[in-house]
């Protein structure tokens, strides 16, 4: 997919702001930031951000495409919406962060090993397969994200929790074999395929 990355570099040469405005969810809000920094200070995982939102906006204006898109900062967003409600310019910051992450991910230049990126993929595949989340499969595939060994290690660590969940009937082993999703999975999949097509067309992304 990195060919689409090359395409984008070509298309928007040294105008990253324009690229973001065109291709990133709510990207046309970026220019409205006045660098007050309230978002940066409002993020619960703030310490984990190499570049807080307001700085990312500045970097976008400064054309630091590589630094932004390969950063794992956006992946630290917990979707708590603190930044949105406090922003004096009403920028939909949470969504812009999501948009940037998604865009980087689609271009194939998002940090490969970022756990949130990988979990997000696992989650999406999990819920879209049957139309509903299969929590057991979800957690299992999560633990085995890094291969069998790490998986077992992780699994053991999580075991007490898992047992708690089983005890309280909040986790169902049967789900491994018999998880009932929605009826019209066919329609759902067609819908999602179409949605993806349209979006890619709009953003000039090769799917």
């Amino acid at each position: 997919m990195s060919n689409s990355n090359a395409a984008m570099v070509e298309k928007y040469r040294n105008n990253f702001l324009k690229e973001v405005e065109a291709n990133v969810e709510e990207g046309d809000w970026v220019k409205m930031c006045m660098q007050c920094g309230v978002c940066a200070g409002s993020c619960p995982l703030g310490n984990a951000w190499d570049h807080p939102p307001q700085e990312i906006f500045m970097m976008i204006r400064a054309g630091k495409r590589e630094d932004v898109l390969t950063s794992d900062s956006m992946w630290m967003c917990t979707s708590c919406y603190n930044c949105i409600v406090r922003c004096p310019r009403e920028l939909p910051i949470t969504h812009i962060m999501h948009g940037l992450a998604n865009y980087a991910h689609r271009l194939g230049i998002a940090p490969k090993m970022n756990p949130t990126r990988r979990f997000a993929k696992i989650f999406w595949d999990n819920v879209t397969k049957t139309g509903r989340a299969n929590e057991l499969k979800l957690s299992i595939s999560l633990y085995f994200m890094d291969g069998i060994v790490a998986g077992i290690k992780q699994g053991l660590e999580m075991l007490p929790m898992g047992l708690d969940m089983l005890k309280t009937k909040r986790l169902d082993p049967m789900c491994l074999i018999s998880h009932t999703g929605i009826k019209d999975t066919k329609g759902l999949h067609a819908m999602l395929k179409k949605a993806r097509e349209i979006e890619d067309k709009r953003k000039g992304l090769a799917s």
Binding site: K31, M34, M58, M59
Partner: protein, 746 residues
């Protein structure tokens, strides 16, 4: 009529005065010592009935001089407001019973205080004359406006709309000033979303079409003399001809020049034609007239432009640069960036700023600029390198890195430099040696005068910081130091069009006010309505020139015989001249060496064995006296040995008062004036300062009388010093206690 005096004293018994004081004794004093023909007491003097009693005496009994012995002169003013009589106030309430504890042991001294204040009030009216309007006042009501820019034209039009004749003098061949050079302006009404027409052409037409306004182009003032209501000016025209006109008041709207950008070669100015200032950008925009803006060097359409804010501004570290911020440049840069964006959204426009300053609804304008894609970078520009392309090197404050951007065009936000004429203080600065002398001569010639005043104190309005001809005051922006002459627009402080329009309209009112007051021969702010004016006995005058030098308002010139020539219309009635005069020939009808001198002499000074010292306080009526009043209102107690006399300004304090006080046995004299120095709060500019200098010199006099220097002290008092003033008084009494009573008691 001023001569057939009939003195009356009225003693109030209200507010506890009757209970605390022996008022019959006060009446006897007023009668015997005060020599009042009419003496009455009243339970409630400020009541309708009490006031009616006084009026009756004035109307039917021919009373001309009234001593109200009741509350402070600041209280019940409206009640005791009588026309065509001289009024003094004996402050028995705030000044006596409210500042003294109601105790047995203090009863006697409290009564002595009251006795003295009655003596003083009577002595004062005895020395007063009922002021009459200045006879040689002018009544010309035409308003002269210097400068035909937006400020000048606005002032002209607004004055005309109020019904006044206007004479507008513009040094260039066209009206419009800087505003006429703009392609568009920043909006001042909603929506604040983009550049709007300046409307300047329409304004020019209205001005030219107005029958009350006569415009002189290519003209300057070669002479300005006279006073409010009776100014006379010579208008020199390009042709060489000079016409003389009479006018009533002057508005100086001489505007500003742009900062000389050639001083900014580090920013590439002069090195490349594509580095320009904001004024030049307006020219380009006008040429493009909504189309693509082309760069000067090769006429290529501009695809990227960098706006460098604060170019040569906000820089106190370099004498060649401006210390201040010109206020409008942030909005102007945004407006100009919008020129590009509106013509072609693809153009990159970046504004490099330190602090983005868009107060009020400018914030909407800011958002609108961002909406249009103008980008903003908080950055400090190091330099602009010219080599084929333009590279702006700067420190990005947010990303915390030194970086650079390339641009087809660089626009420098240089500031406004006031066109305020000659710096008369610098010109008048004393010089030590020959060399220095040359320099001052040079300084004198430096800069072209705008007004060419024939005033002894110089050709133009005094400058304040950075050469602006502003008023020094926050609450009184039009408190000009040349009565009847009002600066407005960017000559006063840096400002944008909207503020200039407001400012010019305000200045027009002040000009109108000046001519209306002049016609009635009354003083202007701060002693508005005061009819008294300085007169002097030529016979006694020694031509020492102190009055002409020290007048804060340049009201006094010298006649051909080198005698002081008072221009009453220019006078603000502070009395600084009176305080300056060593031979005491200057006086006002209701305020003179006599009115104060007789008060302090009227005080009954006990002999030294009584161990009742007397401390005289001469208090500025605007700050120290109100502070004392409020001390009384809040029952702050202070020594009963003090006697307070309010003065118009410490500048009016003549040293004779101090030596008289010493001779008549006072143990100490305290002068309480307002803050002096650069941040002075004296509405008569230097009064407090001058008094201080005079008193520092009085040391010798004291020595001759072989008295301790600390018996005379000067203080800076703020109106809020409600606790401090009583302390200072008590400390003075304590000091007397320590160094001993004055030997001059009889």
């Amino acid at each position: 009529m001023a001569d057939e005096k009939k003195l009356a004293a009225y003693i109030c018994k209200g507010c506890g005065l009757g209970d605390r004081l022996d008022t019959p004794q006060l009446m006897t004093i007023a009668e015997r010592e005060g020599k009042c023909q009419v003496v009455k007491e009243h339970d409630f003097l400020c009541s309708a009935e009490g006031v009616a009693m006084i009026r009756a005496d004035i109307e039917s009994d021919g009373v001309t001089h009234v001593a109200i012995c009741a509350c402070s002169r600041r209280a019940k003013v409206e009640a005791f407001n009588f026309n065509n009589v001289a009024v003094s106030r004996g402050n028995l309430r705030e000044g006596v019973i409210w500042s003294q504890p109601d105790t047995e042991e203090r009863r006697e001294v409290t009564q002595e205080m009251a006795d003295d204040y009655v003596r003083m009030a009577c002595a004062e009216i005895k020395a007063m004359r009922v002021p009459e309007p200045n006879p040689n006042h002018g009544s010309n009501k035409r308003i002269l406006i210097v400068g035909g820019g937006i400020s000048g034209m606005t002032a002209a039009l607004e004055s005309a709309k109020a019904g006044y004749e206007v004479l507008l003098v513009e040094k260039t061949g066209v009206l419009g000033g800087w505003a006429a050079k703009l392609y568009k302006r920043v909006p001042d009404v909603e929506p604040f979303d983009g550049p709007v027409d300046t409307g300047i052409d329409a304004l020019i037409d209205v001005v030219n079409g107005n029958s009350k306004i006569s415009v002189h182009l290519n003209s300057t003032l070669s002479r300005t003399s006279g006073a409010p209501g009776q100014f006379s000016v010579d208008i020199s025209q390009e042709s060489g001809a000079t016409i003389t006109e009479n006018i009533g008041a002057i508005i100086q709207a001489s505007g500003s020049e742009v900062f000389d950008a050639t001083k900014l070669d580090n920013l590439g100015y002069g090195k490349s034609p594509d580095v320009i200032d904001q004024v030049q950008l307006e020219e380009l925009a006008k040429a493009a007239n909504g189309g693509a803006i082309k760069r000067p060097s090769d006429g290529k359409e501009v695809t990227s432009v960098a706006f460098v804010q604060c170019a040569g501004q906000r820089n106190p570290f370099d004498d060649n640069m401006l210390d201040y911020c010109s206020g409008h440049c942030c909005n102007t840069a945004m407006k100009q960036a919008m020129y590009f964006k509106d013509a072609n959204p693809e153009v990159d426009t970046n504004i490099l700023y330190h602090d983005l300053r868009t107060p009020g609804n400018g914030e909407d304008f800011y958002r609108s600029a961002q909406q249009k894609g103008v980008t903003f970078t908080k950055g400090f520009v190091k330099d602009v390198v010219v080599n084929g392309s333009l590279n702006v090197n700067f420190k990005d404050a947010i990303l915390d890195e030194v970086t650079s951007m390339e641009a087809d065009l660089v626009v420098l936000a240089t500031g406004q430099v006031p066109n305020s004429g000659v710096d008369i203080e610098a010109a008048a600065a004393p010089v030590e040696d020959e060399k220095g002398d040359e320099q001052t001569v040079a300084a004198k010639e430096e800069g072209v005068s705008v007004l060419n005043l024939t005033y002894r104190q110089g050709k133009d309005l005094p400058h304040l910081s950075h050469g602006f001809a502003d008023s020094h005051f926050i609450c009184f922006p039009y408190e000009s130091r040349r009565t009847g002459i009002y600066p407005c627009g960017p000559v006063r402080r840096p400002m944008d069009i909207s503020q200039a329009i407001e400012d010019a309209t305000g200045a027009a009112l002040k000009a109108i006010q000046a001519v209306e007051n002049a016609e009635l021969g009354r003083a202007a702010h701060p002693r508005s309505g005061d009819l008294s004016f300085p007169s002097f006995r030529k016979e006694g005058c020694t031509q020492c020139k102190r009055c002409t030098v020290e007048c804060p308002f340049g009201a006094i010139d010298e006649d051909e015989e080198r005698y002081p020539q008072f221009n009453e219309g220019r006078c603000r009635r502070c009395g600084t001249c009176m305080g300056a005069c060593p031979v005491r020939v200057i006086s006002f009808d209701n305020y003179s060496v006599e009115t104060v001198g007789s008060q302090l002499k009227a005080v009954d000074v006990p002999d030294e064995f009584e161990e009742k010292p007397r401390v005289l306080v001469l208090a500025c009526e605007n700050d120290a006296y109100p502070a004392l009043d409020m001390a009384g209102m809040n029952r702050r107690e202070y020594s009963a040995f003090v006697r307070v006399i309010p003065v118009r300004c410490l500048g009016s304090v003549n040293t004779i008062w101090v030596s008289d006080a010493m001779n008549s046995g006072y143990d100490a004299v305290l002068l309480m004036g307002c803050k002096r120095g650069d941040e002075y709060q004296c509405h008569f500019v230097k009064g407090s300062e001058i008094a201080h200098t005079r008193m520092s010199k009085i040391g010798d006099t004291l020595e001759q009388l072989n008295l301790e220097a600390e018996r005379v002290q000067t203080f800076e008092i703020a109106i809020t010093d409600v606790d401090r003033v009583p302390q200072l008084i008590d400390e003075a009494v304590k000091m007397v206690d320590e160094i001993g009573m004055s030997p001059f008691k009889f």
